[in-house]
């Protein structure tokens, strides 16, 4: 393969005619009836409800949907007149999860990987590596280990890695969903810099419209039933009232609109103390470094506590330690008799069945906590483990409240992102713990799921449950009220409101 002509890659023209894709073994099409023309150099934000097929379209454009045994295609999808699979290296795809995209051990090799795959000469590879790292603003030695990077840096590395192909079409699949606010801007600004230089065509998928609305010149909204719901300049699409409300119904974060949330911000200063941490040092591993030192705080019934701070500051470690899952390195976490009941006062020493009735912890990745093959069984596991007479009514009520009733037979792993999140919260509530801990509950969630979560958590707080949330989401913390623990630089500062 010869290097692309000229100093800049040619921007790609995209055309879809009646295009659709059905994954093998699925009845419904993931995307269907798509008719689109993107002119070279156009910057497009692709929106749609979860399940509308946004990622499928991106993967198809990247040519990684697979062959005919992996699914069925209808219509045409062409990059510069050829199918994506035949245009290797013309489209570069960056995925959502920073962790699952790193292939190699060193930063330089990681960026060189794509250019090597395209069989570039050695001089050209290194020229591209330097230019790509420069473009994304990663000023690191070439032998810097890829493990020693922040989330934002990893995403910029992923961006640099596809830039080494000098793609004419840049495809970004929720590239900032897992990042803290600084990381979001870091990655977005790198993308803008890259586009300003390369003039490549851009298609980005993202729930949060505000991040990209000023960068793109076209908004395309996919309809969950196939086809396109709205298409036009952001200013144009976002001011049409009918489109705005349809976007909101689809769970898209429309700028200037807050999702409709039930209930009010809880204002109670909190009831009795349930858990007290004194001089607490937390660490992820037995011998590893201390993440946060000298924490003093109390967890009160009926109060929300937000734990914030940059990626990697030790927020989750602090929360897991408070939740009795990690052993405190120093200091103590003690539960009051009202919470302990028949168990001891050290949550870390509680047996699993004792823990699950007292403190529920919802992990960031819902899949880590799924134990069974159906939603119904999943909800019943906790109560069954605890034993005793648990009213089956409670499970039905929970399913109803979290809109899971129609999914009781479904396999938890096949649910959408929002459904998985709702299920993971519901499973924890099934054993009625008095403290609920959530690790990044709103990561990558659409506006509908966000609003449902906030509504539910407000009710819980009003009912006297202590809700601890590790989150970057300032709006989420505002919506729940209560206190905030800001973790950074190895220390925590408590802010009451």
């Amino acid at each position: 393969m010869t290097p692309l002509g000229g100093p800049l890659p040619r921007a790609v023209q995209v055309s879809a005619r009646g295009w659709g894709w059905r994954h093998a073994g699925r009845r419904a099409f993931a995307a269907r009836h798509l008719d689109l023309e993107l002119t070279p150099g156009e910057r497009v934000l692709l929106l749609g409800a979860s399940g509308a097929g946004k990622s499928t379209v991106l993967h198809a454009l990247a040519g990684v949907l697979g062959s005919n045994d992996e699914g069925e295609q209808e219509g045409d999808l062409l990059l510069d007149g050829v199918p994506p699979a035949a245009a290797r290296g013309r489209a570069g795809l960056v995925l959502q999860d920073p962790e699952s995209q790193v292939v190699l051990a060193r930063v330089g090799d990681e960026v060189a990987f794509a250019a090597e795959n395209l069989a570039m000469p050695r001089d050209e590879i290194w020229r591209r590596v330097h230019r790509a790292l420069d473009d994304v603003g990663l000023d690191l030695p070439l032998d810097h280990p890829t493990t020693a990077l922040s989330g934002g840096q990893k995403q910029r590395l992923a961006l640099a890695s596809v830039l080494a192909m000098e793609p004419g079409l840049l495809l970004l699949d929720e590239p900032t969903a897992n990042l803290d606010p600084d990381g979001v801007l870091e990655v977005r600004d790198a993308v803008i810099r890259v586009l300003d230089r390369t003039r490549a065509t851009l298609v980005v998928v993202e729930h949060r419209v505000a991040v990209w609305a000023d960068v793109v010149d076209r908004l395309i909204v996919l309809d969950a039933d196939g086809g396109v719901l709205a298409d036009g300049a952001p200013g144009q699409v976002l001011v049409q009232e009918a489109t705005r409300s349809r976007l909101e119904q689809a769970g898209v974060w429309v700028p200037g609109r807050r999702p409709a949330v039930g209930g009010a911000v809880p204002t109670s200063a909190g009831g009795e103390v349930l858990l007290a941490a004194t001089g607490l040092d937390v660490a992820r591993t037995k011998r590893g470094p201390v993440a946060v030192a000298g924490l003093d705080l109390t967890v009160r019934a009926g109060q929300a506590l937000g734990i914030t701070g940059p990626n990697g500051a030790g927020k989750s470690t602090a929360a897991l330690t408070l939740g009795g899952l990690l052993r405190p390195r120093a200091g103590s976490v003690r539960a009051v008799p009202a919470l302990t009941g028949t168990a001891g006062d050290d949550p870390f020493r509680w047996r699993s069945t004792e823990l699950v009735q007292r403190i529920g912890t919802v992990f960031q990745e819902p899949e880590h906590q799924f134990l069974t093959a159906s939603v119904g069984e999943e909800l019943a596991v906790g109560p069954a483990r605890v034993g005793g007479a648990q009213a089956p009514g409670r499970i039905a009520e929970l399913a109803e409240r979290l809109r899971l009733t129609h999914l009781l037979q479904a396999n938890p792993f096949t649910l959408s992102g929002g459904e998985k999140r709702r299920l993971s919260v519901a499973t924890m509530l099934a054993t009625a713990p008095r403290i609920l801990i959530l690790d990044e509950p709103t990561f990558g969630q659409d506006a509908l799921t966000w609003a449902e979560l906030v509504t539910l958590l407000r009710e819980l707080v009003d009912d006297g449950v202590a809700v601890l949330s590790v989150t970057h989401d300032a709006e989420f913390i505002d919506a729940l009220g209560g206190a905030t623990l800001h973790v950074s630089g190895g220390a925590g500062t408590l802010v009451h409101r």
């Binding site: 990684v64 069989a119 906590q369």
Partner: protein
């Protein structure tokens, strides 16, 4: 905690500069020479040479022992077991109840222990002084192994390191759901199986995502170039020659001493 197999702590400045292929060659001929015969002379010669070369690892004996202690224990157990079970000929060294050691059985035990250690050390030398990425470069460029195989292996090494972290996270996540460790042996076994299954599911999903990311970067095409050239230097000739010398020395010494005991004869 994630174990980073892709960027291990490497030691020994000189051997680090040698091409992985020459190191593999030296280790292979030494191992072949040792495997060809079960006798204490060849094992002792190889082990002596390895101990003489130990400073090349640039790591203290204590630090080395800390990293390879399971091998030392295994060699000791092998030696003890052989001394206990080998033919009881020669003078009695120790006779306490069922424990009978004779001169010959003790000699066999020592030979087995030495041989085990001597066999393990060449691998240790390669492992401690070779960066996996360099190894992949060398295997693909010098030995012309298929690049899909080599890079796939390299990528899986990174995923294997993440499994440790995943396992711990899964354990915590399950504990939080009320299915932690504890309870009867049956409950523990069920829990362990459940967690293992969860790990497999997560590993497959992660591997699938990584494969997509690799494919999206043009991986899997016919021809491929390499950003870094894997090259041989004079040092590699020395490494290979030393390997051959040690192997030949061990065989010669054993034959001359009359202990050579070819396994296929």
């Amino acid at each position: 905690m994630s174990t980073d197999y892709l960027t291990p702590v490497l030691t020994g400045k000189t051997l680090l500069r040698a091409n992985p292929v020459s190191k593999l060659f030296a280790a292979t001929v030494i191992t072949l020479a040792l495997m060809a015969s079960i006798d204490w002379v060849s094992a002792a010669v190889v082990l002596t040479c390895e101990l003489v070369l130990m400073p090349l690892l640039g790591i203290s004996v204590l630090a080395l022992a800390r990293r390879i202690w399971p091998l030392l224990v295994a060699a000791l157990i092998g030696a003890y077991g052989t001394a206990l079970l080998a033919d009881k000929t020669g003078g009695v060294v120790l006779d306490v109840g069922p424990f009978l050691f004779t001169e010959d059985s003790v000699a066999s035990g020592i030979a087995v222990g030495l041989r085990g250690l001597a066999l393990a050390l060449p691998g240790i030398f390669v492992l401690l002084t070779t960066d996996p990425t360099d190894l992949a470069d060398a295997l693909a460029q010098k030995l012309h192994l298929p690049h899909r195989f080599v890079l796939g292996g390299l990528a899986s090494l990174r995923l294997a390191g993440l499994l440790v972290e995943q396992w711990e996270t899964l354990g915590l996540a399950r504990h939080a759901r009320g299915v932690g460790s504890g309870g009867s042996v049956g409950a523990r076994t069920r829990n362990l199986l459940g967690q293992s299954f969860g790990l497999i599911v997560q590993a497959i999903r992660r591997a699938t995502r990584l494969a997509t990311a690799m494919e999206a970067r043009g991986f899997g095409g016919g021809t491929r170039t390499w950003a870094r050239e894997s090259s041989f230097s004079a040092l590699d000739a020395v490494v290979a020659a030393v390997g051959l010398l040690i192997a030949a020395g061990a065989v010669t010494a054993a034959v001359l001493a009359g202990t050579w005991n070819f396994i296929l004869s």
